[in-house]
Subunit: 386 residues, 2 copies
């Protein structure tokens, strides 16, 4: 397909963490205000809003959130649309925003992502997150998400010789990056020994292999290239947008150690942008568990299938390595407010491409974001360029 | 804005009702198969799927539904995206499908809507439906949706002299239409006396003023005009697509007897299509309660504000009246599987424009659909033409 490129002219985030004194709409409004100030636009310039949110209905007993946040941000009557695809809700919201601008339907679109996860018990959070899996064939039988990814990790270790230490290396790297990110939930280093020695969650994954439960919001402002010129001399462009679906339930997949949705979404995005994995300098990928980052960098073509463990352990994905992966700290250490994550990934890559990433800045002209729903039932990949 | 028109080349429905022996994915697959057969296309022709669903998370403990139904319908790896805006989820999914085709991003898109509402108790259904209102300021205080619309009805009666009998006339008309619709949940006549004498739900609204709890799915196939020619000589075109947001909570509105979201969405759709209310021959409007149909026909410009009661009572919205409204039976009598409703409305208008509406056929060249989220926090309006 042919599509016009779309400019990102503003980005905004809240702090990620356990934010007990902020409601979900407080979070959206804060991130949105930051993005609007960054873009230098006014509320009246905004033609439409897309909101990524996984489960307002279960986390805070609120559906119809896009309308509510639009109202609370003073943006009525602009169309406001919620997009849901579990933990890929944000990435899909970005894609719908891109399509809305590229189609000529709207000139300036705000894409937000928000999740308020800490208002309910962690047991109910676990029950809610597993609604991203196949309820009838996985959740009802007792499966949890750490359990799903533990099965994948164990099989990856069996097939490719991936080691426990290599998984831990993902966590160590991402914590080191988060330390330099003022918005991150966990701003401290961990060692391989600490990861291995932390509480077992689902063998072989320990607590420090898992992303946390997080409140937070992220927001970006998209515009047509012509419109963008009114507001900035140096927009970042989204030049590729790919999305793919794969089987949700693990038992229905031909192979569980490879993410077909990631591969297909990446193929579409690379083709649209006329780029390949060798062109990518910086990437935010979906590391909800350490094993997920290995599947991501393999599926995106940064290394061969099965080689993610050694590739990470040797430092190729560290800041300033062959390709800088999850400079923000990733889901693991920046935090993972599920519906916000896909939008927050774009925020980080835009900051990197603008040279505004502070202490975690790397040298980058082309970036990529990769957002996954469930254990790979959905994937969204975007390519961004200066 | 300028947008290419988009063709509807196939439509499909399930029966609407209490369908205890069918799961939500059974429903989607049945409606989808009907639409695909109607379009004469094959699964491999489908580039993307949009799914309208209000609350899979609460009704059946399943989020990430678009990916799941895409898998179960054999459509992987095509992008599958769920759209949510309470009872307007289906209408917004249609609009996203229209944008996706008009943008050139996809050539053939399936838009489905599905809701499986009868797997939980009716008390929990009520608790779930009210998540479409403002949870913090309406639901937590004990408000239910019949209560919200009862307040609007009482005020409409006070301001405009609307009578209880005029409200009942909406129900009588829509039941008469549903009798001729083989997919409808309630295929029987009711009288004004029966509506007035049925169980009080929220004064002044009785049971027969309220749409029911329904399982069901609807599906349409959209294509670019060029692509449509490969499959049909007589497509129906969507020539206008409008969406607007308004305040969710009643107490924040300047006036509660007028739906600003409806007015703004209609304005956008009419402008895009180059049409006005006087051009519309047949319309499916959002009659979740009888009072809602009055707000709809007033906001859409079929009659003056406040005149919906007499306009309905005199038969102007009956089949073959000035404008035929809810020939399908509407939400009231066809049934209201919330996420499916906005898509099912398009199905009915397409059948009418094609001359395939059987016993309920009216003379029509231009049709309109109108789908509302909550008590008017969101509205979507589409214009369809032969």
């Amino acid at each position: 397909m042919k599509m016009n490129k779309v400019a990102v002219i503003g980005v905004g985030l809240t702090k990620f963490g356990e934010l007990w004194d902020q409601s979900f709409s407080d979070l959206f409004v804060e991130a949105g205000a930051n993005a609007i100030v960054d873009a230098g636009i006014d509320g009246k310039d905004i033609d439409a809003i897309y909101l990524g949110n996984m489960s307002g209905g279960r986390f805070i007993e609120q559906e119809h959130m896009a309308s509510l946040i639009s109202d609370q941000a003073g943006l009525n009557p602009a169309p406001a649309t919620r997009i849901e695809a579990a933990c890929a809700s944000g990435g899909l919201a970005v894609r719908q925003g891109v399509i809305a601008v590229a189609s000529g339907m709207h000139d300036v679109v705000v894409v937000g992502g928000v999740e308020k996860m800490t208002d309910i018990t962690s047991e109910r959070v676990t029950q809610t997150l597993i609604t991203a899996a196949d309820q009838e064939w996985e959740a009802f039988l007792g499966m949890t998400f750490p359990g799903v990814y533990a099965l994948i990790a164990r099989r990856h270790m069996h097939e490719f010789g991936t080691t426990r230490e290599q998984l831990a290396a993902v966590s160590v790297k991402n914590h080191a990056n988060a330390k330099d990110n003022p918005h991150a939930q966990f701003r401290f280093d961990v060692t391989v020994e600490q990861v291995l020695g932390s509480t077992m969650v689902a063998d072989p994954l320990t607590l420090l292999d898992c992303s946390p439960i997080t409140d937070g919001a992220a927001c970006i402002v998209l515009a047509s290239p012509e419109k963008a010129k009114e507001f900035t001399d140096s927009p970042v462009y989204i030049t590729g947008a790919g999305q793919a679906t794969s089987t949700i339930a693990l038992h229905d997949r031909e192979r569980i150690t490879v993410s077909d949705a990631t591969i297909n979404a990446a193929k579409a995005a690379y083709k649209m942008a006329g780029k390949g994995p060798e062109d990518i300098d910086v990437a935010e990928v979906h590391d909800c568990f350490t094993i997920a980052e290995l599947l991501a960098i393999e599926g995106l073509g940064f290394c061969e299938i099965g080689e993610g463990g050694p590739f990470t352990e040797e430092g190729s994905t560290a800041r300033g390595g062959k390709i800088s992966v999850n400079t923000s700290g990733g889901l693991k250490a920046k935090g993972h407010p599920v519906g916000a994550t896909g939008v927050a990934q774009v925020v980080e890559v835009v900051l990197q491409l603008r040279g505004e990433a502070g202490k975690r800045q790397v040298d980058a002209d082309v970036g990529l974001t990769h957002n996954v729903g469930g254990s790979g039932g959905t994937a969204a990949v975007h390519i961004l360029e200066k």
